[in-house]
Structure formats: structure tokens, C-alpha cells
Point group: C2
């Protein structure tokens, strides 16, 4: 059966294959789909990565651990790992998503991986989920360079301004475009005292703010 | 020993009492303090509550589970539980914090509780941490009314505006006051098309935005 090789890569054989199937079922395909179990998987993943970093990096402070974890569990990383498993070949998508190439979309792959982790937790408990997560994450965690974890642009900008006693930047959404499920946000970052305005765009307000902050920080470095 | 009754309330007796002591030690007191183990406890708590809600509320969607969890793990809830344990009597604080009543401060109590959960996880593993969390949370989870989980004010405001095809509100920090560890943020919420401006304040930018959104939403309901 085709799912054998996926289970081999995960290092977990499902006692209840329905859980595996559910984790691989996108909401565009049928019910039960993977959204609830993805919620669970997200919590399980965060916990396991937190525990691993806590043990592995006794010298890191809370904020550093937190940033390192964020860098490991963010969508791009999940997407890379999912792509390495060829998860797109196993996901069950509805017609529309299939035609529009949903099996390649980073968010669908990342969500599918979180759902898989949640399903392993339900199937085999916390220890099974930990085995799977550490197996998938070993290369990333072993090559993690805590000192190199870049602060996010908003933090960098804020720290730069605070250290010079300037007020915090102001962010505001200046435009949104597109329909609900594919909105683009355009955010302005304003540093009033320096008369500096930059704009960033992204698929969420948060991402657009980060882009605007990055542009502002880059200008200040010049 | 005084810590006996705390361990009894938690339903966990520490094999390694140093972990318990560390969880109770605020950074103002001495090292090793509880910040790293609080980071761990936060992840453990989120995971356990997610798993419990997933099982207990099979009819809830991902977004509803997520909001319900957020309502259970937020600082106010943690603070209530910590107060119920009289955690302030056990925390070890530095002189300055003691004098300024730090043992009553919600954030210090909430952080201490998360640290305790992290310490139980390190001492006895995931199952021990689950037992403790569910014991502490049972009354809250059993009385949880998923339908009554209020959306946060920013979400409410956004949905209200979107359903009427208005642009998203703009938030900007108009002032910050106080030293780094006790900053107050003042945020303006602007709904340009409706010429509506409201202001919220809080100990973080996020909280101040929520307050500003709440004020705007309330005005729109009038």
C-alpha cells in the first residue's frame, strides 16, 4: 500500500489507519478532514520542540529559546520537511485545489504535516509523537545555530530605536487587496521623529508589518 | 516542610526538589531562576489543554478550539489558578519585588504557575504534567461553554467591518510611558471611513490594541 512508505519515513506505523487518512484529508476533499487534528498537532509540535531545545541548549535564555523555536516551527520549515516527505503525493485534495496545484502550496503542506503529528499523538501518545518529531527535525535541530537566530525585523527595529531613545514605530494597514482567502495586506511603518515611512506587503497583517519594519531597518542601516 | 502542601495541591511529589525550587524562584531572587522552565511549561500547558479540548469537544472546529484554548491559558486564568494555590506564598522574590508586592502581581503568579508545570514535566514526564494540569483545570474545563467563548475585540471589530465591506481598522501606537519593565502602551484604533477614533491602553501593544478595538466596537454597537 502506498501509505507504507510514508509511515516508514515517519518511523510510525498507525494502529488506527483512519487517523492517518484523516490527517491527509484536506477540507476541500471530504469530512472528516484534518483541520482539528492540525490544531492538536500544532500544540504537540510546539511542546516537543520546546522540550528538546530546553534540554539541548542549557545556556539559552527564555527569549532566545522562544525565537529559536519560532524559527523551527514556522511555515517555511514545516513546508521544507513536508516536501522532503513528498507529502503532496499523499494529501487528499478536492478537485478545485488539485487543479490549482494545492498539493504544492506551502500552507497546505505545512498544515498537513502538523495534522500528521497530531494524528501520531492520538495514535501512539506523546512519546510516539516525540520520536516522529525528533526524527523529522534532527537535521534542523543539530544544525541550529542559536546565536545566528535572527531577531525578527520588528524586534530589530524596535531595539534600534529604543537604544537611541526614539519612540516606537507606528504600523497601520493602508490597503488590503483580494478576496478573503487570498488577501494581501499593505502596511505602512512610520518612524515619526526620523520622518521615515516604509511600506511592506504580505499575506497577513503580521507579515506585512515585518516587511515594512525590515525596509525601515535597512534604510536606517544605510 | 512548607512545600509539602503545595505539592499536595498539585498532586505531584517532586523526585528532584531542586526543580520545584527553581520553578518558584523569580529572576529577581537568584539563579537558577524560573524563566527557562516557564518557557517549557508554556509549551507543555498549551499542548495538554489542546489535547483535552480536542477529545472533549468533538463538535468544535479548529478556530473554536483555538479560541477556547486561548481563553483558558491566558494570563488572567493562570493568575486565578495560581492564586487558588496561594502560589504567592511560595514564590522566592528579590527584595525590590517583595517590597513592591510582586507576590500579588498577576504576571509573576501566572509565570510561576507555568514554570511549575514545566518543572513537573521535567521531573515526571508528560503524563505527570497532564495529571497536574487537568487537576488544576478541571473546574474551568468542565464549566467551559464553547459557544460562549467570546471572540477577542479585534476579531469582533474586524468581522463587523468586513461584513459591511469597510476597510480594516488601523492601529498605531501613539504613546508609551514608563520604564522598560512596566511600560504602558497607548494605541489608537482608526476606522477611517466611519471617522471613528478610539484609544486603548495596556501593558503590551497587543493588549492596548484590544482595548482600543473594544472601545470602537462598543461605539459601533450603540
Amino acid at each position: 500500500m502506498k501509505l507504507d512508505s510514508l509511515q516508514e519515513q515517519l518511523g510510525h506505523r498507525f494502529r488506527d489507519p483512519r487517523l492517518l487518512l484523516q490527517a491527509l484529508t484536506h477540507r476541500s476533499h471530504s469530512t472528516p478532514h484534518n483541520e482539528r487534528v492540525e490544531f492538536l498537532g500544532d500544540g504537540v509540535l510546539n511542546c516537543i520542540v520546546a522540550a528538546e531545545l530546553y534540554t539541548r541548549f542549557p545556556g539559552l535564555k527564555e527569549g532566545e529559546l522562544s525565537r529559536l523555536r519560532a524559527s523551527l516551527v514556522r511555515e517555511e520549515r514545516l513546508h521544507e520537511i513536508a516536501a522532503g516527505l513528498a507529502l503532496g503525493d499523499y494529501l487528499r485534495l478536492g478537485e478545485g485545489e488539485l487543479k490549482s496545484g494545492g498539493f504544492r502550496r506551502p500552507s497546505i503542506l505545512a498544515d498537513g504535516l502538523e495534522a500528521l503529528i497530531g494524528a501520531v499523538f492520538l495514535d501512539g501518545g506523546f512519546e510516539s509523537a516525540r520520536d516522529v518529531v525528533l526524527r523529522l527535525y534532527r537535521p534542523l535541530i543539530e544544525s541550529a545555530e542559536p546565536s545566528a537566530v535572527e531577531k525578527d525585523p520588528k524586534t530589530q527595529l524596535q531595539e534600534w530605536l529604543q537604544s537611541r531613545r526614539y519612540a516606537l514605530p507606528q504600523y497601520s494597514v493602508v490597503a488590503t487587496r483580494g478576496a478573503a482567502h487570498e488577501q494581501r495586506f499593505e502596511v505602512e511603518c512610520l518612524v515619526r521623529e526620523l520622518d521615515l515611512r516604509t511600506v511592506g506587503t504580505g499575506t497577513s497583517r503580521r507579515l506585512a508589518e515585518q516587511e515594512a519594519a525590515r525596509a525601515a531597518y535597512d534604510k536606517l542601516q544605510q
